[in-house]
Symmetry: C3
């Protein structure tokens, strides 16, 4: 039985590893070790929506310490991330506080914007919509303010 | 071989339990035992959007008997849940029919609203946006009408 | 030990199969074999939003070859899929390029629309909102332009 017991032990620990690897997204809410992650979509030219997204990010920071927060702006929402945006200071503050803020490269090409036109603190992705898909596949919650 | 067979049996049933525990969200659609769950976000001050969210909830109730339905109102959407909201009766009916309706505490504080201002049938959460994240982490689908 | 080794091999391969079956949605982003899937919601009567959704779908096709793309129109968004919609040609092109486009049956009933009123290339579901829930449960990312 010694071999069998050892085998049982090996398999039990294997099962634990397997369990950890396959822990589904739906179980994360119950697991205090899983850091919450959220991606906010900004796709409107409305500054009230920009402020709402920034307020939302702040509330998440306040209520969920250590949460990973990303804001993706694309389409008409790209204006939020311009250097002369009326929320430029709030965007910079958000980045300084740990929020990742990214602009859609396709939108910038379409609107003939260059990095010189944009808030110097932001990041860039090729396609905002693909970023939003990738993040959801990685287990981020999606909020569209 | 008896011990080994017994061990095999034990491990097989263990694997089945493990499989059940780690069934991913993506497989739920195929599992008739998984009750569908959906959270609706209302974050606009537009009564047409409030009615659309309430219509959506009704359609889910009609087509997916037993589904868990929650409506979260925050930001400019909080007006939907005031006692004097033009959809107050419909909100009360939704609650009576089993829909959970929650208001964002951060928004209420910001707009200096108290529970006396609100529909008496609703629930409250500290942050609407965190509720929306939590529900998605728990496997709820997200709909933003 | 031969039996035990064989048993170990059987169980290890079983564990691999189990691991593959229970791979959670959150891990898909890292797995090149998992085809990305996305469902776009169109629920506004604004043609700018219809064009944005169609642009988004195009960008996904460009940047994520082989992605599964679906557009669900319901409520005030149903106009996008009418035969005389100002984006009717773009909708037809999207279908021809592999995008699945579906209209909400509940909305059509409510607006007294028949299939004769609609773009002949589209599909139909009983409830757009249930389609959006089902797709998310199947692991689709959700984008609401």
């Amino acid at each position: 039985m010694t071999h069998v017991n050892k085998l049982l032990g090996t398999l039990m620990s294997g099962a634990l590893v397997l369990g950890a690897l396959t822990l589904p997204a739906a179980a994360n809410a119950m697991d205090p070790l899983v850091k919450p992650k959220v991606v906010f979509q900004v796709s409107e030219s409305d500054p009230a929506k920009w402020n709402l997204a920034l307020n939302n990010a702040k509330n998440v920071q306040k209520d969920l310490k250590g949460a990973t927060i990303e804001i993706v702006a694309y389409g008409p929402g790209i204006g939020m991330l311009k250097a002369d945006s009326e929320v430029a200071n709030r965007v910079s503050d958000a980045v300084d506080s740990g929020v990742k803020v990214v602009a859609c490269g396709n939108t910038m090409k379409g609107q003939k914007l260059t990095k010189e036109d944009m808030n110097p603190k932001i990041h860039y992705v090729q396609a905002g919509v693909v970023e939003l898909m990738d993040r959801q596949m990685e287990g981020y919650s999606y909020i569209r303010p």
